[in-house]
Symmetry: C2
Subunit: 198 residues, 2 copies
DNA sequence: TTGACTACCTGAGGCATCCTCAGGTTAACT
DNA sequence: AGTTAACCTGAGGATGCCTCAGGTAGTCAA
């Protein structure tokens, strides 16, 4: 799937530009994975076989590069929230989605922080995606609440706080440990209501 | 209370040295509070009225400076865990301590990350303090578990994961929001057992 | 009080990274 | 083939990290 740029595919312009765009993005993904969101952009440019100015031409900001590097994964997460599942399996759908969210939020070190900031700061490259995730999460949470399987007083903002916390723990888990899933399981046991309540 | 240096008061040496040490520490606290743990050390030195080399003389590493800047607060937290409270109010003691821990962990932006890394990485300036906190937390958790008020399968490591997550959320809460306390409350409701179980 | 001794301080400087911009290059279209 | 402008390059100013050679001054003993 050729990624053509932010929001609207309006940059099928010069072939060399597209090629460099793709190369930079691939290099950035590798660098972020290895060194976190504060990886050296000059290093990224070097690995992409491109001068530093070219990188800044395509991605005027580090945040823009992060946004582009995570767009596919996060939009996948948004799509996953779109299949509405009221009724019987609303809780299962929600919990499965939460697991996916935590995984995506901790794609590389530093991402959760960027997303958390983008969530409430419009004018950030990732804000649109965050807003979409917020809507999707609200949908799933509402369904599970209507089904009587999740405590009714839980806000969507609070849900994302929990997801962010879990993702951060996963990012920063000590060597050998993997705090994410267990964290989420513990949290969930405090949110879920017994099945009989319905 | 004059802070005389790491671990053992073995540096009541020259008066100017002590004076600069204190000035740097005060400036660092202010800078960390304002800009997070990655504040400019050259700026800190400037605000302390000292050359950059002097800062590095007293604190060879940014981590050492962070350790010194947080030592008082964290040792207070450790002391708070030392008063053993078995029996009736074990749960209350634990929850109160957890609230204090979250507050101290989020003294400034970036601290939780440093502490989380120090927890399992000996050779870090903050490791000793982290180990002490780990022991204290284990004590309080054990008491609450023996009193039958907290689920028995919760590890001390997991407790600290939850505390770290809450602290991170508090650090990164959106403007106006204060996710920490609510986060902790939600988590606790998943950990606590009904009183009747005793 | 004076004379070491040495802990202490200074700040230039090498290195990394960020980000900009003036000028050269070339893909694409006529 | 000629024209246009999108694209690329890389030098360079700014900031921050950290080190080190050389100068300064607190302290103590005589």
């Amino acid at each position: 799937m050729a990624d053509t740029g932010p929001y609207i595919a309006q940059r099928p312009k010069r072939a060399d530009g597209q090629r460099n765009y793709d190369a930079i993005l691939a290099a950035a993904r590798r660098a972020f994975e290895a060194d976190g969101s504060d990886a050296s952009l000059e290093d990224v440019a070097g690995r992409a076989g491109v001068a530093i100015g070219t990188l800044y031409r395509h991605f005027p900001t580090r945040a823009a590069l992060v946004e582009a590097a995570t767009r596919d994964g996060l939009s996948e997460l948004v799509a996953l929230a779109e299949r509405p599942a009221d009724g019987e399996d609303a809780l299962e759908t929600l919990t499965e989605w939460m697991g996916q969210a935590v995984r995506h939020f901790s794609t590389f070190r530093g991402l959760v922080g960027i997303l958390a900031r983008s969530m409430y700061d419009e004018g950030t490259p990732s804000h649109a995606m965050c807003a979409a995730m917020h809507r999707g999460g609200a949908e799933l949470l509402g369904a599970a609440q209507r089904a009587g399987r999740v405590r009714a007083d839980l806000t969507t903002d609070e849900l994302f706080d929990l997801l962010s916390g879990a993702a951060w723990v996963r990012e920063n888990a000590g060597p050998g440990r993997d705090g994410g899933p267990r964290f989420l399981a513990l949290v969930l046991e405090g949110l879920v209501l017994p099945d009989g309540a319905r």
